[in-house]
């Protein structure tokens, strides 16, 4: 059974311009020792769905529907106080910019100790030892000294490691990493992703990895959900997403990025148009206005997220055979070469 299950989650915000449907009927499961990658562009709802898991989207103007089930109990319906005991302890989260999530006035050790003592009845001394252990576990050199550093004294990569140490000091079951490497240089990014992978394996943590970067997905995820306009449009094991994706949006994402081993100088195959408004969402398929393959806007019904092969779900009106043919045409030759 899944450790954490998101069932038909929807999150909308009332704004002056209208109701923004940020997340619209999203379901996924997190399992121990596995990483689910949530990929999408700005406004796709990937971060909002994750923030909602730990209750950070709760506000008077937000409406949250559906369920988030941890250990058989729903988190959406729990009180703020109950959620506070779970947040950090059972489910930890790290963010894109570690500098703005660490308090600049306090030494990192003080911040980690505070996190531990908020959730567990341990002495300051014991908490400090745990903090040093955690810093060591995330590969911070000389943790006994670094624990007394201020955030600004650390490099970007070290700060993200410190955030991870804080997240892991409480031995959570679930780690949510929201664009954890976007602010980091490539060489540091590779180290941090490797670190998340080894922590997942050693401690059997379930990881939800949110990113816009398919390179990060390829490196670190076991399973991938592609989000567009608040919806999951494709969900599959990682290799399937790269080898036989079936949604035109996924194709577009894969083809939009220049590859190091692609022929040089050719134009990129960009996705035309702009992401849709989440306020005045169109009926039917949300990707339709940008889709180069949909024949006519005849169908005003949104496609279901339907399983095409076991573990591979796609939200698209095109017949399965047609989708597979198009993908082969776009990429068959280059895939065979590899």
């Amino acid at each position: 059974m899944a450790l954490l299950e998101v069932r038909d989650l929807s999150v909308s915000f009332a704004t002056l311009d209208g109701v923004v449907r940020a997340v619209d009927g999203v379901s996924y499961e997190l399992e121990r020792g596995r990483t689910l990658g949530l990929v999408g562009e700005s406004g796709s709802g990937k971060s909002v769905s994750a923030l909602t898991i730990i209750g950070l989207t709760r506000s008077p103007n937000a409406t949250i529907g559906g369920q988030i089930v941890l250990d058989g109990r729903d988190l959406v319906s729990r009180s703020d106080a109950e959620l506070r005991r779970i947040r950090g302890k059972r489910i930890a989260m790290i963010f894109q910019d570690p500098l703005s999530s660490l308090h600049p006035y306090f030494r990192i050790g003080v911040q980690i100790v505070e996190a531990i003592r908020t959730h567990e009845d341990v002495s300051k001394r014991a908490a400090r030892l745990r903090a040093i252990e955690a810093l060591e576990a995330v590969g911070i050199p000389r943790p006994g000294r670094r624990i007394d550093s201020y955030p600004h004294e650390l490099s970007g990569g070290m700060r993200q490691r410190a955030m991870l140490a804080m997240a892991l000091a409480l031995r959570p079951d679930v780690l949510i990493a929201d664009e954890p490497t976007t602010a980091l240089d490539v060489t540091v990014q590779a180290q941090v992703l490797e670190l998340i992978r080894s922590l997942r394996d050693e401690h059997g943590i379930a990881v939800l990895l949110i990113t816009h970067d398919l390179g990060v997905i390829a490196q670190a995820a076991d399973e991938v959900a592609v989000m567009y306009a608040g919806r999951i449009v494709e969900h599959a094991p990682r290799d399937t997403i790269f080898e036989s994706p079936e949604h035109p949006y996924t194709w577009g994402l894969l083809d939009s990025i220049p590859h190091l081993d692609a022929p040089r100088g050719e134009r990129l195959r960009a996705i035309q148009g702009q992401p849709p408004s989440l306020i005045r969402a169109s009926e039917g398929c949300k990707f339709f206005p940008r889709c180069p393959y949909q024949p006519a806007p005849a169908d005003e019904i949104e496609p279901e997220l339907a399983e095409t092969t076991p573990g591979h779900r796609v939200r698209c009106h095109l017949p399965v055979e047609e989708r597979r043919r198009i993908w082969r045409e776009r990429h068959g030759s280059t895939l065979l070469e590899r």
Partner: protein, 291 residues
């Protein structure tokens, strides 16, 4: 002052449009007594390169490598501490801002964050037309027509002339930045991380636009990015920067297939490849590591 129409890309190995020799920029690190700086940190530490007309030079490196400082030195937004900048045969290293003014139309910059580089209280038409007004290059009606033409060229709706920057998406804002740069018919564009803040699907649109404009207008481009795949895609030559120095400068094909410097190889090896198992690190980088 405005060059003749440049329809073809002269790629015949002609004269460099811009060349830098042993360029240095120090920033003061700490202030001693009497406010005089004692320690200096070299952000750019003796770099040399040239960019031929119609060519695109990529500057890659990690944060702190000095690539953005180089961009600001090239456009003379910063005063060099040493070395030379030669533009179109003239040594402009220490030209006064006043003397540089006529060159400003020819040398343009595109920034990473289009929103913070656009005045929020001006309409798009005003923003894009501003350089023409400042340089006195066109009358009001002519200016308006030219702005509309350029807006259309970069994929903005000329009907949106009177809208404000906040009414546009990130990708459209970068198109405004590009329109402002090309409205004066520049010869050299220095683009500092022009697509890094954009979503992937929009990034591809803007890269295609830059490529098309470069080819159509015969622009010479200095393209700065931390993204090695993007640089490879758009550049003819690539300089890899590390700690203020160029560690490797080569033709793009050669640099990516046979990186000569270990730092280049390490950077390439760290790039995650958007493909599944078996090819997680770049095959080229892996091959280069063994050669």
């Amino acid at each position: 002052m405005i060059g003749e129409p440049r329809n073809s890309r002269p790629n015949d190995g002609g004269e460099p449009l811009v060349a830098v020799e042993d360029l240095v920029k120090h920033f003061p690190l700490a202030h001693g007594v009497l406010g005089r700086s004692r320690e200096q940190v070299p952000a750019v530490d003796g770099i040399s390169f040239e960019v031929r007309r119609g060519e695109t030079l990529g500057l890659v490196g990690e944060s702190g490598s000095g690539k953005s400082t180089t961009a600001r030195l090239l456009t003379r937004l910063l005063e060099p501490s040493g070395g030379r900048i030669v533009y179109d045969g003239a040594d402009i290293t220490h030209w006064s801002q006043r003397r540089l003014r006529p060159l400003r139309a020819q040398i343009q910059m595109i920034f990473q964050d289009p929103y913070s580089s656009l005045n929020p209280r001006r309409t798009v038409g005003t923003i894009v037309g501003e350089p023409l007004r400042l340089l006195g290059l066109a009358g009001k009606a002519e200016r308006r027509a030219r702005v509309r033409e350029v807006m259309n060229r970069v994929g903005l709706n000329p009907e949106h002339y009177n809208r404000y920057p906040h009414e546009f998406s990130g990708g459209q804002r970068q198109r405004i930045g590009i329109a402002r740069a090309i409205v004066q018919q520049p010869r050299l564009i220095v683009a500092d991380e022009p697509v890094s803040a954009l979503d992937v699907s929009i990034q591809a649109q803007v890269l295609n636009l830059l490529q098309d404009l470069r080819d159509e207008l015969g622009l010479t481009l200095v393209f700065i990015s931390h993204d090695l795949a993007v640089v490879r895609h758009i550049c003819d030559h690539v300089a890899v920067m590390n700690r203020g120095k160029i560690v490797e400068l080569a033709n793009a094909d050669r640099l990516y297939s046979h990186p000569a410097h270990p730092y280049t190889a390490a950077l390439l090896a760290a790039v995650p490849v958007a493909r599944p198992t078996g090819s997680r690190t770049s095959p080229r980088a892996a091959a280069a590591g063994t050669s």
